[in-house]
Subunit: 87 residues, 2 copies
C-alpha cells in the first residue's frame, strides 16, 4: 500500500466518523439548541449526492464512506428533532 493510499484512508476515516462525538454528546445531554440543523441538512444532501456520484462512477469507496456519513448525519438530525423541544 502506498503512502498516498494510507493517507487517503486515514483522511476518509476521520471525515466520515467525525460526527460520532457530536452524536454521543447530544445523546447524553439531550441538548441541541446550539447545533445548526441547516448544517446537518446540507451535509446529508451533500453526502447523498456523493453516493449518487459513486454509483454513477462505480466507485465503491466513495459509495461506502459517504453512505456511512449519510446514516450518521441523518441520525444526528433525527436526534435534533427529538431533543428540540427539550432544549
Amino acid at each position: 500500500m502506498t503512502l498516498e493510499t494510507i493517507i487517503g484512508i486515514l483522511a476518509g476515516t476521520f471525515t466520515t466518523l467525525a460526527v460520532i462525538p457530536q452524536i454521543i454528546k447530544s445523546w447524553r445531554s439531550k441538548k441541541v439548541m446550539d447545533v445548526s440543523p441547516i448544517m446537518f441538512s446540507i451535509l446529508i444532501l451533500g453526502v447523498g449526492l456523493w453516493v449518487v456520484y459513486g454509483i454513477l462512477k462505480g466507485d465503491i469507496p466513495i459509495i461506502v464512506t459517504n453512505g456511512i456519513s449519510f446514516i450518521l448525519n441523518f441520525s444526528m438530525l433525527v436526534l435534533m428533532f427529538l431533543y428540540k423541544s427539550e432544549s
Copy 2:
C-alpha cells in the same frame, strides 16, 4: 460537462460549505455549549489529511475543496474557544 461531473461539483460544494450555517448561528448566539469540539477537531485533522493527499496526487479539486473546509472548520473551532466561557 457530464452529469457525473455536475453531481460531483454539487456534492463537493454542499459538503464543503455546510459548516457556514453553524458558524453564522454560533457567531450570532455566542453559544456553543451543545456543539462538540471533538467533532470539529477530527474534521480539521481529516480535511487536513485530504489536502496532503491532494498534494501528493497533484489533484487540485481535492486540495481546493478541502483547503476551504480546513479554513471554515478551523474558524468554527476558534469561535468555540472564544465563546466557551460565555456559554
